[in-house]
Symmetry: D3
Subunit: 296 residues, 6 copies
């Protein structure tokens, strides 16, 4: 079972200027082969299918707990895309050719299909697919996959970061580079425990440190890079059997924090009447709200 908290894991700045092209590219981090939908669903299904979880509980706990964090990551990337899409079209009631200004821009489904909202697709607009899920049942093979997956995901974030100067996109990439780095290291540690091979020496794939990314470095200073949050009221307590020792980059001590990060308030996405989102004008919205409050 899962619970939900109406907060983002980290605060995102407001998009400085709407940018349908950047929104299209950021989709790669949501619905691409190495995007957050894939990390989420790989770890979720691996936790569902885990056999021998009694004896291998620390590994089960690790995968199951990281899966829970990934739910917050798809949320964060979606919020970035929604931020980038807000205000892209000429705002106002239709019909008035208000979408003509974005007719050739970005992903057309952001306007014709989702009403300026995020979609589970990649930067080409191709849908995320269950074929991206790897769950072999073999714990070493699954951990090796997960380590590789996080390396591939790191590459994706670095390239998307490189594609835009928009603060919302950069802030999201910076935070997820740090959190992805934690997951990458966690699976490296798991492989070390299982096979003795020192995978944590291969952390910087590609060969650049998160310290070089200003929006990531800020989180290093807050110890976010060496912290595994336990995203559960009471469970998954054996994650510290894997997540322990020292961080390979700065030698700081790895630590487990009980509970999620403090998080930040959900942004209130502005209305986009030209795509009928949410489909009511302000007066009507007010009336509906009033009616519901009266219990009708």
């Amino acid at each position: 079972m899962f619970l939900r908290i109406d907060k983002l894991q980290v605060e995102l700045p407001v998009a400085e200027h709407p940018d349908p092209s950047a929104a299209r590219l950021v989709q790669e981090l949501l619905g691409g082969r190495f995007g957050e939908m894939t990390t989420l669903m790989c770890y979720t299904y691996q936790s569902f299918n885990f056999r021998g979880r009694r004896e291998l509980k620390p590994f089960y706990d690790l995968v199951a707990n990281i899966a829970a964090e990934e739910l917050g990551h798809i949320e964060l990337v979606a919020a970035t895309i929604n931020g980038l899409l807000s205000g892209t079209a000429a705002r106002g009631p239709s019909p008035d050719a208000r979408l003509s200004g974005v007719a050739g821009a970005g992903n057309p489904h952001h306007f014709l299909v989702s009403g300026q909202g995020a979609l589970p697709v990649n930067s080409l607009g191709a849908p995320w697919t269950g074929d991206n899920v790897f769950t072999s049942g073999d714990v070493v093979l699954d951990m090796l996959h997960n380590f590789f997956l996080e390396c591939g995901a790191r590459m994706g974030k670095l390239r998307v970061y490189e594609s835009s100067t928009n603060p919302i996109s950069r802030a999201m990439c910076g935070y997820l580079l740090v959190r992805g780095g934690v997951h990458q290291l966690a699976y490296a540690r798991a492989l070390e425990k299982l096979t003795g091979v020192e995978m944590s020496r291969m952390l910087n794939v590609p060969k650049i440190s998160n310290e070089s990314i200003p929006e990531a470095r800020a989180f290093h200073e807050k110890a976010v890079h060496r912290t595994l949050y336990r995203f559960s009221p009471d469970d998954y307590r054996d994650v510290d059997k894997v997540w322990n020792g020292r961080h390979p980059e700065d030698g700081s001590e790895l630590r487990v924090v009980d509970g999620p990060p403090e998080g930040a308030a959900m942004p209130n996405l502005p209305e986009e009447p030209q795509v009928y989102a949410p489909g009511y004008d302000p007066r009507e919205l007010h009336e509906i709200a009033a009616r519901l409050m009266r219990g009708a």
Copy 2:
């Protein structure tokens, strides 16, 4: 953000006999167009993309909260599939042609790919895809979609129920028929509040009452069919602005319960050495566990 609790929403019986063919069919409820992956992701993305959430907060709360429950539903269907797959192949170490007995049975990926585990695919083995997600941004259209989606999902559960006498499959279908019925009614109520059209009169699509299904009726007696759980420590408190009034079938009062259902312990899936799940023999598992506990 999301938290995770290491429990199933409801207890499942042990599968009476392993059944790869039933496991293949149950996949329709997980990765099919009307399966739980679809309900989960539709509501999740609708909550991400919700515009005007301040004024329409009761609808936002409803969708966001049901999304959280759906996470437990993919978990429950996966547990059913895993239960049905346990013991299907001749258990023991390879190589000894141990999979030859299931060479023509069920979904071959259950043996060759996932190691007797659930996959995000439908009954044909085709992967779940992001194309199944509907998020238009228009609140009435999204609610209408969700109502229709739950009707389609209801049909799927009834037909899968009809396909097997295995207790684990039937118990899962029974519970999800009831919970799906709650979601169906919730979206019907939302449409009633928004448009005045009495959608709750169209609950039994197809035309059979949950009362006719023994495994569902049991939950009616425990009021599960008129209960909306609030799957959150503190948020989504305005769901009661939509989920109120009387149940159209028995006239009982709709109620909101704070927090998730009590739930049941996660089953410990037995090891399946012939597919290397988890890939260690019992002695090795013991050693790994001992080593981790020593902090090595």
Copy 3:
């Protein structure tokens, strides 16, 4: 069986200026999830699979007859795309880099694959797929689906309308908004007959009247919005058992007209030699025609 008439259902203006980007967007109405290929094939397969058609003949007649009309709709959207594509590239014989001016524009398959012609794909260029067809066998569920589908299709048309000022695109959207409205109301009426729930009160999803769209309003004045054409020489005569009563917007009487609308002449698409469509120069075309007329 089907017969074909070499006319469009309605006259389309000439595209004012060629526009590959608009052509790409209009494809959403042809091959998108809620495009005319989907409405066509949903109703066609539902009519093929209809069980109990003797007792439920009015519903069978309705679905089967609307399917026939939808054939003319894919034709109309394709004609719009073809109109928008005519003249986009530098017209003349190759090789002379005549496509270099459209190298980054619109859907590249319109130039490299179809020779400036329509394709059964959506606005991303992704192919229409049979997964879009819903045919459950349950008449209420099918009608509910169809009603929802028409609402989703309405959203698509409104957003494509909003994307362009090109008269051909707007004229097509206007006409199809009206005809789609007829189908939406027809399925609403079917649901009312079957369940008693007043679905026709939910016609304007999204919340804008066709009356607000000049290119649609013109057809209201000609009663097109309250007319169900019987697209058959002799069959489907019981459609009037469902299509009767008053239009929910203006209270006018719903009526059945025997036979198709008058229609308009097929446009003669100009030749595009740079993509070898049709692959002969005018002199050669003349010779071929002369030869055929001589019976050779």
Copy 4:
């Protein structure tokens, strides 16, 4: 525009015994790469996109007219599948495990998704896709494609014929082998007129005559193999500029018949209550019918 006639192009025998496995295979002729959906949509889109249709009218007429016939072919294959599926499951009201007898049989979507109805999918259950449509704009290339497509389709029909002894499947294959042969020859003739290459000498690909198939030979005796029906009240009159001369197998004269074949009554598919098709019991059906007749 299109009109619809509530008849099949040819009479089909009743399926001697229900057969979900045969139904699954026959799907290849409906939604496979060389199935009737593909021939239908190739010719339909080629007719939509035809440039230079004034000068090349006989070719335009040919393609446009054959497209209309193909609509009746998807209808005929669907009727065969529906005939094979009728009675496969234990007929009666649910819940009573009535689908357990077909849990491992055929295409599971025939039971879980379509309610024992045909789907636009192939023999693997994979959906038909717009990628199967070929429309290049070049008239020679399109005719060459169509000739090849009909050869490939012929192979498919011969192999499906070879897979079953069920009379309904064989009758359908026999008829479509003959009609497909007409289309194959028509495109061969078109290529002969355009290029001078004697394609009609390559008719029997693969190398077996329709005369060897009893269910096909019967139609040869009725001249069906040398008849091009004009599926239109008034149009496409220049098909005889291409469809003329002698049949390469028996030297008989090719002829054009105005209007469709006589056809046969649509079979009334029996109800399948266990999959809720159509979802009402006989008493309810009677009441609905009575109510509609009263105009309510």
Copy 5:
């Protein structure tokens, strides 16, 4: 078995200016339905599956040998794409928003996924798929398919040629038009031998001679258009039983050359540090090389 030679089949000029949009279009010739991946895999699988190869050895040899040449064709198209992508982004170490200049250009996967490298996808970025492979087992049908496939491929090359003035793209198209013409004629000859129908009269589909393309004409002068290379040390010697006679365009004699063409040196693709290709700076590369040479 296959051997590899580290050379291109023909020399390519350096791309005059980087062009992500042209790179995207050229992908159609690599991973499109009629691209080189398709010709390669069709002939490869037909050679694998060839039944009766003893008696039909000349046809087997022909298909197997052309398959080997096609491996060099995917190599050549990939080299063109890589040439067009080199230098598109601001070259230098990240992070410095170096990809922002190409954020809306071409195929985003060329930057986010492949690191400015070719991918097995078409001009839309959709992946090549095994559905493109045709292998029926019937030798006439396979040859007919192959002839049609080469005609379709010819159309693709002509249209891509028409899309760009970049010398690298034009040179590649010119060479492949000639080599594709050889394959087209080879399959025409095969059909002539098998059926007697003079397919080689249909070579110029579409209706333009390679002689009209300057970059193709140059190879005609070197007899490349009438040469079948035997891509094997010792095998496939019976290709001359099919590839013989005169070229239909210029009457020159068809000839078989033992062994591959002379070829040209592989271009050394420059490093693109902003996408981490290959991920080391020059000093590090030097150190690695030195270390390996020392045997460490």
Copy 6:
């Protein structure tokens, strides 16, 4: 460029009994996500896209050379599938319901589409797709991917081995386990050279030695497990800069052999007239052969 030799890399026994179900499963090793099409195309595209190949020549040579070997692997798996399919259907001329005995068996496309031949699809019949290709441009990430890919491929082979007792299937799995082990170790060595992390200690994923598989052990005795063949007349000579040192399992010395293995004669696949493969009867085949030899 590539050359082809008309031999298999290793001799395969004749299939003891035809088995369509085993043929379907073996397809996973050909067209599955971890099948030979994927290893082939990953290494092929990585070699096409390699930047900095001058400095990193040993790594380029390694990847380019292994790609050439993989061509022989798809050939070997296809030969196994063809062996398993030969004789499955009642052999003889149609029409005589000869495929009715295999109507529910294996992959229906093996009979309806490919004429009892291998296809580029997985065990579900889903086509191989270019989405399976990983080519990031970063040499460490690519090597890590390749190491993981070979581990996943190893799991696939072990499970397919476990699924059948048919000698042809087991012999193929045994050989490919050994050759895949060589590639796995080669990429481990590459990572060791680049990062210093001892990946070769992780060879047995999953945790079973090839020594336990009789059909693999035989090749160990012939040193096949420590041999890298140089599949080129003259190139890729620096593979020994990476492939050197000792084998981690038995301490034997790694060696490079110039040229391919000796190989074995291609099997002559028997004719299957019921599916028209190759479509001629023996007398006709004889006539065609004689005619070609006469030069006609």
